[in-house]
C-alpha cells in the first residue's frame, strides 16, 4: 500500500469517525476507537519504500493532518461539553469567577482507624 493510498484510506476513516462522533452513544464511541486504531496501524507501517512521489505525498499528508486537527477540535469540544455538564450537574452552578459551587451536604459521621 503506497503512502498516498494510506492517506486516502485514513482520510475516509476520519470522515467516518467525525460523523460518528455526532451520535454520542458509548457503543458508537467504541467503534470510533476501533477505526482510529486502524488508522494508527496504517500509518505506523509507513516506510521509505511506500513513498512514490514525495511532493504529492507531502500534499496528501498535509491534507490528512489538517483533517486530523479538525477532528481533534471536534473531540475536544465534545469533551469540554461533557465536562462542563458533569461539573454543573454535580454542583450548584458557578460562582461569578466561573468556579463550580459544591452542593452543600449534611455533616455525616465518619469512622477512622
Amino acid at each position: 500500500m503506497t503512502l498516498k493510498q494510506r492517506c486516502q484510506a485514513g482520510e475516509a476513516k476520519l470522515d467516518q469517525v467525525s460523523a460518528a462522533l455526532l451520535d454520542p452513544r458509548p457503543e458508537v464511541l467504541d467503534r470510533c476507537e476501533a477505526d482510529l486504531e486502524e488508522i494508527i496501524a496504517m500509518l505506523e507501517t509507513g516506510d521509505a519504500e511506500s513513498i512514490v512521489d514525495p511532493s504529492a505525498d507531502k500534499a496528501d499528508l498535509l491534507r490528512l493532518r489538517n483533517r486530523i486537527r479538525l477532528l481533534a477540535l471536534q473531540a475536544q469540544q465534545a469533551t469540554n461539553l461533557c465536562q462542563g455538564w458533569a461539573q454543573l450537574g454535580l454542583t450548584e452552578g458557578y460562582t461569578d469567577q466561573g468556579r463550580p459551587v459544591l452542593a452543600p451536604s449534611e455533616p455525616q459521621a465518619s469512622y477512622e482507624v
Binding site: 462522533l21 486530523i68 479538525l70
Partner: protein, 474 residues
C-alpha cells in the same frame, strides 16, 4: 366512618394526580415537534400518612419537572452563535475573493500581469505602433479592473450595511418577545410549558444573531445581555439596540465609507461587545476586512495603495522619458488625489495620452532608446525602494493580499465546518441526556466524556504519526 372517608379522599387525590400525569404526557406528545420544547415529567409527592392523627397518606400531583438542561441549552446557543458568525463571514468573504483571483486569470492580478507584459513587448520594439497601442489598451484594462474591484467592494459594503440594520431590528424584535415573557411571569401567567418552549426557541434564534447571554432569575424572569454586559431585557424593560454610521475621529480621507457602530439604548457605543452570531460576523467583515482593502476615514486600504503605487511609478517613469518627437512623456494614469481611499475607484487612463506620446526613450546619460519601456516592464517585480510597498514589489504585495483574503475565507470555512459539528454534537448530547433521571444523566455524561477523552488521545497519536511521515517526505 372516618376510615372510609379517608380512603375515598386518598383515592380521589391519587386519581387527580394520575389525571395530571396524563395531561402532562398528552402535552409532551402534542408538543413533540414544537421548536424549543423540552419534555415535562410529572412528579408525584407523597402525602403524610399517620392513621393515629388521621393523615391518610397517598399521592398528589407535584409541579411538572422540565427535562430542559440550561447548561446544554446554553452550549447549543453558544455553538449556534459561533456557527452563524463563521457562516456570515464565509458568505460575505466569498463575494470579495474573486477580486483577488489566486489563479491570476482574472481581475487585478491578470490586468497587471498583462500591462507589464505589454511594456515588455514595447521595450523589444519601442517604435512599434501596435506595441504602443497594446500598452494603452492594457493600461485601460488596469484602470477598469481597479474600478470594478472598488465597485464590488462598495456593493458588498452596502449589502452588509443593509444586513446589519435588518439584524439589529431582528434582535430588538426577539428581545421584545423575551420582555413579553417576563411580563407574563410577573403577572403570574407564566410557568406554561408552551411559553417556555417559545422562550427557548426565541433564545436559540437570538444566539444565531448575536452573542447573547440569558440569565434565569429567581422570580422566573429572564435577563438578556449582549456580550454578557449590555442589557437588552431586564424584567419588564427592554433596551433597544441601534446601528450608526460615523467615524470615531476626524477622517483623514474624505468620502471614505464610515465605520458601523452598534449603540445601546443610551447611545453608548457597544460594538466591541458584539463578538458572535450573524451581527458579529457582519461587523468583522464590515469594520475590519473591508477597510483593510478599500480604506476608510483613517487608512487608504490595500487596493488603493496598489493602484496609487502602480499609477505614480508608471507616470514618474514616463515623465522622465522622451517620446519619439523628443517631448517629455505624458502621465499614463490619472486618479482623484483628494482622498487616499478614492484612488482605485477613480483610476483611469489619461485622456490626453496617445500611442505616439508614450515615452520609451531614457535620455540618460547614457541615452537608452527603450530604457523607460524596460524599466516599466520590470516594475512589477522591482525591489528598488521607490517601486516597493512596505519592502515588497508591487506583484508580491498584491500576491500577499490575495493570500490574506484566501486565508480569511479558508479560516471562515474551516470554522464553519467545526461549528456545524459542534452544534450538531451539542444538540445530540442534549437529546441523549434529556428525559432521564439526574443520576442516569450523570453516569451517561461521564461515560461519554471518558469515550471522547480516549478518542482525543488517539487522535493526538495519529497527529504525531502524520508529523513523522511529513518529516520523512520533506
Amino acid at each position: 366512618m372516618s376510615g372510609l372517608f379517608a380512603n375515598l379522599n386518598t383515592s380521589a387525590t391519587a386519581l387527580k394526580a394520575f389525571e395530571r400525569s396524563l395531561e402532562i404526557a398528552q402535552n409532551n406528545v402534542a408538543n413533540a415537534s414544537t421548536a424549543g420544547y423540552a419534555k415535562q415529567l410529572p412528579t408525584l409527592d407523597a402525602l403524610p400518612f399517620s392513621p393515629m392523627t388521621g393523615l391518610p397518606g397517598g399521592v398528589r400531583a407535584g409541579d411538572p419537572l422540565s427535562t430542559r438542561d440550561e447548561y446544554l441549552e446554553q452550549a447549543v446557543r453558544y455553538q449556534t452563535s459561533v456557527l452563524s458568525n463563521f457562516q456570515t463571514q464565509a458568505r460575505a468573504l466569498s463575494g470579495i475573493e474573486p477580486i483577488f483571483d489566486v489563479t491570476g486569470q482574472t481581475g487585478i492580478v491578470a490586468a497587471l500581469n498583462s500591462v507589464f507584459q505589454s511594456f515588455s513587448a514595447w521595450s523589444a520594439n519601442p517604435d512599434s505602433a501596435a506595441a504602443r497601442q497594446d500598452v494603452l489598451s492594457k493600461a485601460q484594462d488596469v484602470g477598469a479592473s481597479f474600478q470594478q474591484a472598488a465597485a464590488v467592494l462598495s456593493g458588498v459594503t452596502s449589502n452588509i450595511n443593509n444586513k446589519i440594520d435588518t439584524t439589529v431590528d431582528q434582535i430588538n424584535s426577539l428581545a421584545a418577545q423575551v420582555r413579553d415573557y417576563n411580563l407574563k411571569q410577573s403577572q403570574g401567567t407564566g410557568g406554561d410549558a408552551g411559553l417556555d418552549a417559545h422562550l427557548h426557541d426565541t433564545l436559540e434564534t437570538l444566539s444565531g444573531l448575536a452573542s447573547v447571554t440569558a440569565r434565569f432569575e429567581d422570580d422566573g424572569s429572564v435577563t438578556l445581555l449582549l456580550g454578557g454586559q449590555t442589557p437588552l431585557v431586564i424584567g419588564a424593560r427592554q433596551y433597544a439596540l441601534a446601528s450608526g454610521y460615523f467615524n470615531s475621529s476626524t477622517p483623514v480621507n474624505p468620502n471614505a465609507p464610515p465605520a458601523v457602530h452598534i449603540l445601546d439604548a443610551s447611545g453608548q457605543d457597544v460594538t466591541d461587545q458584539v463578538s458572535g452570531g450573524m451581527l458579529g460576523g457582519l461587523l468583522t467583515v464590515r469594520d475590519s476586512v473591508l477597510p483593510s482593502l478599500q480604506g476608510d476615514g483613517q487608512q487608504a486600504g490595500a487596493l488603493n495603495i496598489i493602484a496609487k503605487q502602480v499609477a505614480d511609478r508608471v507616470n514618474q517613469l514616463l515623465a522622465s522619458g522622451k517620446d519619439p518627437a523628443g517631448n517629455a512623456g505624458l502621465p499614463l494614469f490619472t486618479y482623484d488625489a483628494s482622498s487616499a481611499a478614492n484612488t482605485a475607484r477613480s483610476l483611469a487612463i489619461n485622456p490626453n495620452v496617445t500611442a505616439d506620446t508614450l515615452a520609451a526613450l531614457d535620455p540618460g546619460p547614457p541615452q537608452v532608446v527603450n530604457g523607460i519601456a524596460m524599466a516599466l516592464a520590470g516594475l512589477g517585480d522591482s525591489h528598488a525602494p521607490a517601486d516597493t510597498i512596505g519592502g515588497k514589489s508591487i506583484l508580491e504585495f498584491l500576491n500577499a493580499q490575495t493570500q490574506i483574503v484566501g486565508q480569511q475565507v479558508a479560516d471562515a470555512t474551516a470554522g464553519q465546518t467545526i461549528a456545524q459539528q459542534s452544534v450538531a454534537q451539542a444538540k445530540a448530547v442534549r437529546t441523549q441526556v434529556s428525559g432521564v433521571s439526574l443520576d442516569e444523566e450523570a453516569v451517561r455524561i461521564m461515560e461519554l466524556q471518558r469515550g471522547y477523552q480516549a478518542i482525543s488521545k488517539m487522535i493526538s497519536v495519529i497527529n504525531g504519526l502524520t508529523d513523522t511521515l511529513i518529516s520523512m517526505v520533506s
